[in-house]
């Protein structure tokens, strides 16, 4: 099986880590021949040399404080490692269970991990082998209305070619409700490989608003997964904003396992320059009367490349499923590229399932109308771009978070 190593110099940097990577080396490295990786080329990543992060040594930029959200409980991780002295541990609601480090690692393989079967094995294995720090947050039965929990993941490329494997586990107990927000930020144009896994269990009648704001360096590689398992009558409102990276791939994997569960899976790609972003969503309707709504919007400028692949499975027992998916792309230059693909597999007969995708430019009549009111062409373009994302931003339930995301997505 030596051939597998070809094109994956990536593993060279992992050899001295003391972790047995022989199993990894046997796993195929994805190529464009695989349907899952048709539009996202991983050759570049396979040829990189990264070393798994072991400890954080650099000085922390003061700017990390700017990322704090007033009114939230802010936690800071740098290159995947928890920084306790910067985190607001004192603000946590005493009823919540929050664990980091070894205490949280026990959840590295949970019942939700099964969802990874829809993902490319090698990245799941990498995260499981090299995860160095983790966070577990448990919201007990019936507890709701607490402040949003905000995890800031600072990626410091200046430390030099690090591979970072964070892991977050969320458990929302019966009838509980919570807001989680993860900000990924990089203050420089460093090169790093970020391969996080987020797993969440939403128990019966519970609700979770889960938001990711992914602001990477243009040189970064990001391959991340969000896996959510939903029990009866639970509700998920998820939103992923990304400004892209050299290679950005995010899998959002949701299984609606209990009757009456509802998932809203939304996202926004705001891409400039050479940046790339690939969102693969997968919603598995495994019980009757479940509902999913997906809206992904993408704005592309310069030579940006956006990929959206939305899978919907409706299992035979999932009668009365409602499933809706829409991907809308706004292209602002001739050189950008969009690949969008719905993938539906429907095995029940009494279901409502719609999907659609559009690619369009700014509307000249709208531009002209604004200009005739004295608004400059440039300002008019900005207003229309902002107008394009208005509906998807409005899917963010919490108004404070909506405002922050709106600013980050500004073009």
């Amino acid at each position: 099986m030596k051939t597998v190593f070809r094109g994956t110099q990536l593993y060279d940097g992992f050899k001295d880590s003391g972790v047995d990577i022989s199993a990894l080396a046997d796993m195929p490295w994805p190529t464009f021949k695989s349907e899952e990786w048709k539009y996202t080329n991983l050759t570049g990543l396979g040829e990189q040399y990264f070393t798994p992060v072991s400890r954080f040594e650099g000085a922390l930029p003061d700017r990390v404080k700017d990322l704090f959200m007033p009114g939230a409980v802010n936690f800071v991780f740098v290159n995947g490692l928890f920084l306790e002295h910067l985190s607001e541990t004192g603000k946590i609601d005493p009823r919540w269970q929050v664990k980091t480090g070894l205490d949280a690692m026990g959840f590295a393989k949970s019942s939700v991990s099964d969802l990874a079967k829809n993902e490319t094995p090698v990245f799941r294995a990498l995260n499981e082998a090299f995860v160095k720090d983790a966070i577990f947050i448990g919201v007990p039965q019936g507890v709701k209305g607490c402040a949003p929990f905000h995890i800031i993941h600072l990626l410091d490329g200046a430390v030099g070619r690090q591979a970072i494997f964070p892991r977050t586990f969320l458990k929302i107990g019966r009838g509980a409700g919570a807001i989680f927000w993860e900000t990924v930020a990089s203050f420089d144009e460093g090169e790093y490989f970020h391969c996080p896994v987020v797993e969440g269990l939403i128990e019966e009648d519970a609700s979770l608003e889960y938001i990711q704001a992914q602001g990477h360096s243009a040189q970064a590689f990001h391959i991340g997964s969000v896996r959510i398992r939903q029990e009866r009558n639970s509700r998920l409102d998820s939103f992923v904003l990304t400004t892209g990276a050299r290679i950005f791939r995010n899998n959002v994997n949701v299984v609606l396992e209990g009757e009456g569960a509802e998932a809203r899976v939304n996202g926004l790609h705001a891409l400039k320059g050479d940046r790339h972003a690939d969102s693969h969503t997968c919603v598995d309707h495994a019980a009757p009367n479940t509902r999913s709504d997906q809206l992904y919007k993408c704005i592309l400028q310069d030579k940006a490349h956006s990929v959206f692949n939305g899978k919907i499975f409706v299992r035979r027992e999932a009668q009365l499923t409602n499933s809706y998916q829409l991907n809308k792309n706004l292209i602002l230059s001739r050189e950008c590229r969009v690949d969008t693909k719905p993938q539906l597999e429907i095995n029940a007969d009494d279901v409502k399932c719609t999907h659609g995708a559009t690619i369009g430019q700014l509307n000249d009549e709208e531009l002209f109308y604004l200009q005739t009111r004295g608004i400059s062409k440039q300002e008019a373009r900005q207003m229309l771009v902002r107008g394009f994302v208005d509906d998807v931003l409005n899917k963010i339930v919490n108004p404070d978070l909506r405002a922050v995301i709106g600013k980050m997505a500004a073009f």
Binding site: F368, Y369, L370, T372, R373, G374, I375, M383, D390
Partner: protein
């Protein structure tokens, strides 16, 4: 204020305006009537600067701040800042752009151009509220997206609201009365009349003499096949209403 000389203009390769002359002075209201497809909206788009419409020959002179400019050389937003306003026959829907932001941005863009201080959002809300009251528009519209889910008549009313906010020197109203019920038309005409002064001018495009009972024109023109074929006083509108255009076209 406005002096159009021997204007030839095309859209998508076909010539629509063929030697049009029109002169409008400050304080005047001119009505333009004419059959469908005669070029009325084309003229309005040319004045506003729509990029799809090209001037083949002739000039559109406009007097602004004591000097005469050729409007065709200005970007649409520059024309607006100099006081040119077009109330669209078919107002454009702009999803996701709230009315409040749109109107305030427009107002402040014009302020900046004239070196006047911008209005802050709270003051602007009050200012806007007053203008909306005149047009009997409910405040709920300011949170909506521009023209989205507005009825036909509400869109027309919204055009006049924008006119009231921007207080233009030269306003072209393209069939603002079409689609308005009689009460709405009275309200809209009332709003327009409030904006009428000795210093500004209006061109009112309409198919119906009725509107001209409320907005009294100084001159009435008949546009046909890209040219003004007849001009006269208010009575011309009545005549057209009674007899149609055939007698003028021959």
């Amino acid at each position: 204020m406005l002096n159009i000389k021997d204007l030839y203009a095309s859209v998508e390769g076909s010539q629509i305006l063929k030697g049009l002359n029109l002169s409008v002075k400050a304080g005047e209201v001119h009505a333009i009537m004419g059959p469908n497809g005669s070029g009325k909206s084309t003229l309005s788009k040319i004045i506003a600067g729509h990029p799809q419409y090209t001037v083949d020959s002739g000039t559109v002179e406009y007097e602004a701040a004591g000097r005469v400019v050729n409007l065709c050389e200005l970007e649409p937003e520059a024309r607006a800042k100099e006081g040119v306003f077009l109330a669209f026959q078919y107002p454009v829907e702009i999803p996701g752009v709230p009315m409040s932001l749109f109107l305030r941005s427009a107002y402040n863009a014009v302020c900046r151009h004239h070196g006047v201080e911008e209005m802050d959002p709270l003051d602007f809300d009050q200012f806007l509220h007053e203008k909306m009251k005149v047009l009997e528009m409910d405040d709920k519209y300011i949170d909506r997206a521009v023209n989205v889910d507005f009825s036909g008549g509400e869109k027309k009313r919204n055009e006049i609201l924008q006119m009231a906010v921007l207080n233009p020197r030269l306003a072209v109203l393209d069939e603002t009365d079409s689609g308005l019920d009689i009460d709405s038309m009275k309200i809209v005409a009332g709003g327009v009349n409030k904006l009428r002064t000795k210093k500004n001018a209006m061109i009112v495009i309409t198919h119906y003499q009725r509107l001209l009972n409320y907005i009294q024109p100084d001159v009435v023109h008949v546009l046909h096949a890209g040219r003004i074929i007849k001009s006269g006083g208010k009575e011309l509108a009545l005549e057209v209403e009674g007899k149609g255009y055939d007698w003028l076209i021959k």
